[in-house]
Symmetry: C2
Amino acid sequence: VAIDRDLVVRTALRLLDQDGLDRLSLRRLAAELQVKAPALYWHFESKRALMDHMADAILAEAVPGLDGPADPADWPQWLARTADVLRARLLAHPDGAQLALGANLHRASALRRFVERTTEVLHGAGFGLADASRAAATFLWFVVGRTVEEQTLPDPATIQRGKLGKTGSSIIFKAMAERTAPDDQDVSFRFGVRILVAGMQALLRETDPDA
Amino acid sequence: VAIDRDLVVRTALRLLDQDGLDRLSLRRLAAELQVKAPALYWHFESKRALMDHMADAILAEAVPGLDGPADPADWPQWLARTADVLRARLLAHPDGAQLALGANLHRASALRRFVERTTEVLHGAGFGLADASRAAATFLWFVVGRTVEEQTLPDPATIQRGKLGKTGSSIIFKAMAERTAPDDQDVSFRFGVRILVAGMQALLRETDPDA
DNA sequence: ACCTGAACACCGTTCAAGT
DNA sequence: ACCTGAACACCGTTCAAGT
């Protein structure tokens, strides 16, 4: 029963699905593979490296659909769609966003592809290369970060009475009272995306008024 | 030599400054306080609670300067200034942003104050309460998250040759070649803030054309 | 080439017991 | 009220040795 990188990653993802990221240890993973923990060091140089490959595997299936927009001018729609796709992949596993957040772009090449494509698309939209890469980082950071928050959240109902019961006088409580729709997470995510896209459009108009 | 919450937090921040977040353990902290690790559980219910109080302490000094803008219409400048202040506080300690990222808003009340004030200011700018709180979350999330990335970065010079040497053909490498200024982190941070502020202005104009 | 045994140097947390 | 002793149930990582 020889193990290889791929089997290790797939088994790790299964444990992640079962028990979450902070119960994922090399010892438990090794046991699941019927091997001892140090054996994993033959295949991965560290736990972080393994986690980077997990993040890569999670995002890899979304990469083939990553071609830029047919018309460069359609970048706003492309960005919105890419944000949804990325978020969906991250939500497909518990703590998927956390995993991607700490990932090294060199090892998690699927994540790097997202960064590259987004930079290219924004460059095509009219940003200089430096600003395109800054805007891409801001954007992808928002998607991943926002999704971490969403995925880390206690749970839908607890928030209202549990934690925020004590901050009941504050504006946060009042605002939450207006955000009770079951799809509030989706709505809020897309609202953030709209802010970012609208902001990029505005900055483009500033420097390049005919866009 | 009785210890209290305040002394524990201050000592923890000193250890943080010396060795960083991942070398901060309750056992090391206890030793520094000349006490045994379980003693800390008299003062804090968990390590996370202690860390929340650390985050609170880091941000607390910025709270007195948090009053909203004199004129509600000046919210864009207020937002930009608040972003700079918050980032500066987070950068004042190693892994300060990490600490804030995971913090519970109920315990890290200084962070909650940032959320509240920002929500109020954006509500005053014309957003409905729900959208104001969404925009505030997006904004503060960006500030904290972006600062985590900045603070986690390998180090200024290593990036170019070390990691990205292998992705030399990619657009990331070309973009980085244009981002060599020593204050690139500041520039990029402010660029992100500009995107967000411009985006909020654009969304406000959509629904409320006389703003 | 791939894996084990044994160890190193730690963790957060609980809880009865001490003062 | 505040702290210790002792334990529970673990960690990631290294490295000589085995097959």
